[in-house]
Assembly symmetry: C2
């Protein structure tokens, strides 16, 4: 990854080792403002007023999404470093803009911060946040910071733009459409399991020495997912995709959302889902067979999309790193054909925040 | 207040007395979606996809703001009912749009919900949220819900629109400008203190019988503030205001923000700040003199704005419920002239989430 943080880190150096109570709330806001300021901001009005003012070109529609990340629910500070946490908080929101085929433009961040966390860690969070935004030419334009008496609470809102006729919803899949997925799913969930197995908190600090390590690759995929922004834009511009979603809950769950909203079913072929080399290499250390991670592992932020048969040839001409894994069907059932050719029901097995109690 | 909730309550009746684990995460989203659906939604794509898609008219700029409300920091469930909490969560965000002179259009809500809270209470939250939005013709278009292992976390994002040339920032005040405030400040802080004094949680349940009660008026101002949306729009369209902010931290603090961002000072006359009848009547039961609530009481969501002298006459012709309370000065100091004609330094005394430690 092209991590060039020099200017950014310099701007924040003076706040090292301070506590939030040394900075004060408005000191913190000013330091965030200073550290994320750009020479040419595309915002009319950015951080520091009641609201940001953004100008989108006349013929474009505004896309907006918001996502929460809560300590001990979405992340665990014993194995997540703050830079990665900032990165991921931005990434999961940009991924939602990507999943509509939009171009991310602006972000707002709201943080509830326990007093135990030093200012330096919060600024490290914003370094990671800002780095991910820079990679995608997106600008932080506002937010909110307050003290939290419970854990660290993160809420991010992302705004993007798209041409109205090119927006790709979850509702456009039709029977016969091919199902595609970008990259290789399942790595993030495997990385999370490996992180949980580690006794000490090593985070990503030693990532350079770990580069060739398959475990480090899986862990990086969990801690610093890369939203498929370019792929989403390309799919929207080409007009190839009929429906799209990003894999946040897990392939089976997110395919379920497409099926439900499109009023269709799906059949997935297990042998077609790409298994990455690191996942294959680490399978023996994991608690479940690789297929479980492919089908139910969330937080990959790969794009799952459907393509009408007559557009599959055009899609292939785009040379997108995406793999055909199945077909949309009539009805509402989802099935998976396993490696032995047996057809089984595919149940959405992603994370439900309020799981139903079995009676 | 014109509370006509009939259709809305009916749509949610079936969820009464359920727990979130009976609904499930997606059940909860569907019930929110159902309860807040309108016949004619101005959103191209609303709740239920990766992002909402919004179309603003070509010549208008998008305003966006986000605010957090955390349990035991911003609110206390022992004296706040869920309907009021939803109302207020929407109100504080619309107030930020109003403070820019914008027209609120869309909202997103993100909730981290502890499992102890019944589904009915969350839906009550959304009833209050939706009611406030309806009063201001604003639409809920998306959000996020997840479980929280700590308290209830609320994050709301509001989007509005404005003509670029009519946006009123905090930075436009000039020496000589008159300082105005809408309505009567200080009531919300007094209401909060009275709520804290009450031993039992009565909330707003008996508000009809309490209508003539000055205590109930102050409590209502704290629990269900009304954002000055129409006033903000009128000020923007008239071109009268040079700077504007909403009073969330307290008059002295928020005037301080205008002074800092405009590079000016201010002189306020204590005898000009309107004291409401309920506040005057309840003063003997409060811990501090009324002036303290006027100057430092936050969460009124009144608008504080400055007007160049040559536009004061035009402002008065608007018949806005606003009072002139002082003058913008050169330099950076803020002063208050008390009832005895003594000039004292006016220190920002609003809430700082990370107060500086005294050394």
């Amino acid at each position: 990854l092209p991590l060039d943080e020099t200017g950014f880190v310099t701007g924040m150096r003076e706040y090292r080792f301070m506590n939030l109570s040394d900075l004060g709330e408005f000191g913190l806001i000013r330091s965030i403002q200073k550290a994320t300021r750009r020479h040419h901001s595309p915002a009319l009005i950015g951080i520091g007023d009641d609201a940001a003012a953004l100008r989108f070109s006349a013929s474009r529609t505004v896309l907006v999404t918001t996502d929460l990340l809560l300590e001990n629910v979405h992340f665990d500070l014993t194995y997540t470093d703050y830079y990665s946490l900032g990165w991921k908080s931005a990434a999961v929101n940009l991924s939602d803009i990507a999943a509509m085929g939009g171009v991310p433009r602006f972000c707002l961040s709201a943080l509830g911060i326990p007093s135990r966390i030093p200012a330096e860690d919060i600024l490290d969070f914003y370094r990671g946040f800002e780095q991910l935004l820079r990679l995608h030419k997106t600008t932080l334009v506002g937010g909110d910071t307050c003290s939290s008496r419970a854990g660290l609470f993160i809420s991010v809102t992302a705004l993007g733009e798209a041409s109205e006729s090119r927006i790709i919803t979850r509702a456009g899949a039709r029977p016969g459409d091919a199902i595609f997925v970008t990259g290789a799913p399942g790595e993030s969930a495997a990385g999370l399991e490996l992180l949980q197995l580690r006794s000490a908190a090593r985070g990503m600090r030693n990532r350079k020495t770990e580069k060739r390590n398959p475990e480090a690759r899986l862990v990086e995929r969990h801690l610093r997912p890369v939203p498929r922004v370019a792929e989403g834009i390309l799919l929207a511009r080409s007009g190839c995709a009929s429906a799209m979603i990003d894999i946040s809950d897990g392939l089976s769950s997110d395919l379920g959302h497409i099926c439900e909203q499109s009023g269709v079913g799906a059949e997935v072929r297990a042998d077609l889902i790409p298994v990455s080399k690191p996942l294959k290499e680490m399978e023996k250390r994991l608690s479940k067979p690789a297929l479980q991670y492919l089908l139910s592992g969330g937080e990959d932020y790969e794009l799952l999309f459907t393509v009408p048969r007559q557009r599959v040839k055009k899609l292939r001409s785009l040379a997108l790193a995406a793999t055909e894994i199945g077909t949309i069907t009539k009805g509402s059932g989802m099935f998976v054909v396993d490696h032995n050719g047996r057809k089984q029901a595919l149940l959405p097995q992603g994370y439900d925040h309020f799981p139903r109690r079995s009676l």
